[in-house]
């Protein structure tokens, strides 16, 4: 019964979304206040209905209701409770419902917290949001219904894929969806602005929090996915340039560019059409990503197995949304004129460069991801594009961004002199190069990756401090004055500093783990003691035990450094009975300076194959990502978003009419 209620709720939500897409839009055109005002209760109702449906599906999973086809395919009575819940979104239909839930959630947020939005803008924004909801609810109802019942319920289910029975699954998709589905709000704002024919500082101020919120969640989602892959899949790889990873990375890059260009719109009233285009592109990449993951067009470890009918449906949604948006843009973009100019050397240009690098980098990733598909369709050639390609073509862009970042962040608006700007930074540059040189001399072998990585990371992080120092006039006034300035810095400045520092930390982690990783593969016998890097490992043997829904071969290894015990490690090989699938669980000893990573293989020659890794500073990769997200959160809670923007005349606005 609950399942049918859930199904009915999605149908109701579908109809509410149709109304929401039409009524407020007409109201905005005709300037009818009560028609426009309907957008708020409708958006909230849509969210509540979808939320209810989601709850019903969750109940079906939690109670192991095996009359529901989806539960049978993805759950089992012996499965731990966490995975019964997480299993709701561990499949195509359920995750689609989660997608729509978050879409309607953002709509409800704007409806409830968008008091300062002018009525016409709010009505149009929620209308466009509803159009997207209509498309995806239609997709769910007609091709991917999670509430299908089975006529003859089996005794038990098929269990969730063991690879997905992990805490990572509980958190990675929700954050990811809060991220790239959240970009739908930026999209809706952009389309609403195009319909209205006006973009001004106020619009930029309203669109920014939603983009920030999406970007923060996307950062966390991607970091979680990377970390999950690291400890779950094989050898501690943390990024594979898999098409599905790229599908989440491309919106992230574009959203980052959007965040930066909307600053220019807000502060300097220029780059307006470009910002609108970015907002459209960001969500377009989200949609493309959704298509890639769910259509079965591209081979990936990650993709849901799907039939072509669904792929075609999404492709149609994609074409209409992106095609429609770009057409609207082509017609209306010229209405947006900027009212200020800036020099070749200025913060605006710095941000233009930032945008250029990020967007071209995205284009490179996009080309690489779809080229095999395009080549096969047009010429019949089968070829592959994998990590080696992306590493070569993408990394230079990141290096240049890191190089320009501290300079761009410190440039004044409108016009700047490079010589004056560089003054606080020369010292930082010298120190960074010195650190790099130090690392180079300390390591054996002449590989340049570690020293270059350290130099870049130090340059970015120390550049952040240099900028803060400049802002508080450190050294130019007395300590009390500097302290006062420090305390009064706007939170968005802290956000900027912290986010950029986070990027530096991530660069540090990536360079270290890539350049300095040590690997050892061998057959270990009981009592064997072997050295890897600075550590020694003692192999005690392998024991057979049982988990809740699997049986285990558990290895026991003790790690020593300078004959002092450092860690006990228990790498496992599990066998999940229901799906008949084996998995390896690596044993990881984490610390800020290194990860010890051990994986157990098969029995060979009377011993066991053991793979040992020492990964220096690995965790800084994800710490950096979390710090970036933290910076975003600081910016999000800046005073200018918390204080209502009503009552402020925006003299910059030049309506097109």
């Amino acid at each position: 019964m609950t399942v049918e209620l859930g199904h009915f709720a999605t149908l109701l939500a579908f109809f509410v979304a149709i109304l929401q897409a039409v009524v407020p839009l007409i109201g905005a055109e005709r300037n009818q206040a009560n028609w426009m005002a309907t957008c708020v209760p409708m958006a909230v109702a849509q969210f509540l209905l979808v939320g209810f449906a989601f709850a019903m599906l969750t109940i079906a999973f939690v109670t192991s209701d095996f009359s529901v086809r989806l539960v049978v395919a993805n759950s089992h009575s012996l499965k731990p409770m966490l995975y019964k819940v997480a299993g709701v979104w561990g499949n195509h239909e359920g995750s689609m419902l989660l997608w729509i839930l978050i879409l309607s959630f953002y709509g409800a947020l704007v409806a409830m917290f968008g008091h300062n939005l002018p009525d016409r803008l709010k009505a149009r924004v929620l209308s466009v949001q509803a159009m997207i909801a209509v498309a995806f609810l239609g997709f769910l109802i007609f091709t991917s219904n999670p509430f299908d019942r089975l006529e003859f319920p089996p005794v038990d289910g098929n269990d969730l894929n063991p690879l997905l029975q992990d805490p990572g699954l509980a958190f990675h998709p929700p954050f990811l969806y809060l991220g790239y589905v959240g970009l739908s709000m930026s999209f809706s704002f952009a389309i609403a602005a195009l319909i209205e024919g006006r973009v001004d500082a106020a619009w930029a101020r309203w669109v920014r929090p939603w983009t920030l919120l999406a970007w923060i969640n996307l950062t966390i989602g991607i970091a979680l996915g990377s970390w999950w892959a690291y400890y779950e899949l094989g050898w501690g790889g943390w990024w594979f340039w898999d098409p599905v990873e790229n599908a989440s990375f491309m919106p992230w890059l574009v959203a980052a560019a959007l965040l930066h260009s909307s600053i220019v719109v807000e502060k300097r009233d220029t780059l307006k059409s470009w910002t609108i285009l970015l907002a459209i592109l960001a969500f377009s990449f989200s949609l493309i990503g959704t298509f890639i993951v769910r259509s079965g067009v591209i081979t990936s470890v990650h993709a849901f197995a799907n039939d072509p009918e669904r792929g075609v449906f999404i492709l149609v949604i994609l074409s209409v949304a992106i095609g429609g948006a770009l057409t609207l843009f082509a017609f209306r973009a010229r209405e947006m004129r900027s009212t200020s100019a800036f020099n070749l050397v200025s913060r605006e240009s710095g941000l233009v460069l930032n945008n250029l690098l990020l967007v071209v980098a995205t284009a490179v990733v996009f080309c690489g991801t779809i080229w095999p598909l395009v080549a096969e369709i047009t010429t019949g050639r089968k070829l592959s594009i994998g990590a080696p390609f992306f590493d070569m073509t993408f990394t230079p862009f990141m290096v240049v961004i890191a190089m320009v970042l501290p300079i761009g962040a410190i440039l004044p608006w409108k016009r700047a002199q490079l010589g004056r700007v560089m003054q606080p930074l020369w010292g930082v540059l010298a120190l960074s190069v010195a650190l790099g040189a130090l690392v180079w001399t300390m390591q054996t072998g002449g590989r340049m990756l570690a020293p270059i990585g350290i130099t870049l990371a130090a340059w970015v992080i120390l550049g952040v401090f240099a900028e803060l120092g400049m802002r508080i006039k450190l050294g130019k006034t007395n300590a009390a004055e500097s302290l006062r300035r420090l305390r009064n810095l706007p939170r968005s400045d802290w956000g900027k500093a912290v986010a950029h520092a986070g990027l530096g930390l991530t660069i540090f982690g990536i360079s270290m783990i890539t350049a300095l990783e040590v690997e050892d593969i061998r057959v270990a016998h009981i009592g064997d003691r072997f050295a890897v890097g600075e550590y020694e490992f003692l192999f005690h043997g392998v024991e057979k035990t049982n988990g809740p829904n699997y049986s285990v071969d558990q290895g026991h290894i003790t790690a020593f450094k300078n004959d002092v015990k450092v860690a006990e490690l228990f790498p496992e090989k599990r066998f999940y009975h229901v799906q008949g699938m084996p998995t390896t669980e690596a044993a990881i000893d984490q610390s800020l300076t290194r990860d010890l990573y051990i994986a157990l293989g098969d029995q060979q020659d009377g011993g066991w194959a053991v793979r040992t890794y020492i990964k220096p500073y690995a965790n800084w990769l994800w710490i950096g990502a979390i710090v970036m997200a933290l910076g975003g959160m600081l910016s999000l809670t800046d005073r200018r978003y918390r204080v209502a923007a009503t009552g402020r005349k925006t003299l910059n606005a030049v309506p097109a009419e």
């Binding site: 470890v301 071209v360 080229w371 593969i521």
Partner: protein, 147 residues
């Protein structure tokens, strides 16, 4: 059925990739073998290289690479040997040939284009539009100026 098998095989996280008994005794050759392997695709897997895949064919290819290296082939010769037998599909990085130019050149070309367009936008003189003042504001302005 085959697809299901392949899916199961590859969804199983890499239980084992390079096995201890495959490792060559000469460390230089082994290093070259690992490097080459990282650029070769496991043909039945979903986006994995043969170095980290546990599929049967990945193992066969790893052994093949090592055999060729021991026979004295250079890195390029080994790769050509494998491509001759398995096609372009096995390369994880497309060749630099004309037909693959789009993914390779997309970056530099778009960057150059973007720089040119950005430069033009920045150096274009912009008409500064000032919002018209209301009568009240006109009056205030007059009062302030006449003070």
């Amino acid at each position: 059925m085959i697809r299901l098998l392949c899916v199961l095989l590859t969804l199983a996280s890499p239980l084992w990739a390079v096995e201890p008994d495959e490792i060559l005794t000469d460390p230089v050759l082994e290093e070259r073998a690992r490097d080459i392997s990282k650029g070769l695709r496991c043909l039945v897997c979903r986006n994995e290289n043969i170095d980290s895949s546990n599929a049967g064919i990945a193992k066969d290819l790893r052994i093949l690479v090592r055999e060729r290296l021991v026979l004295g082939d250079s890195n390029e010769q080994v790769i050509d040997y494998v491509v001759d037998r398995y096609g372009e599909f096995v390369l994880l990085k497309p060749t630099f040939s004309m037909k693959n130019m789009i993914p390779w050149l997309a970056g530099p070309v778009l960057l150059l284009l973007g720089l040119i367009l950005a430069g033009k936008f920045i150096s274009k003189p912009k008409p500064v539009q000032v919002a018209k003042l209301t009568d009240e504001e006109e009056q205030r302005l007059k009062d302030l100026l006449d003070k």
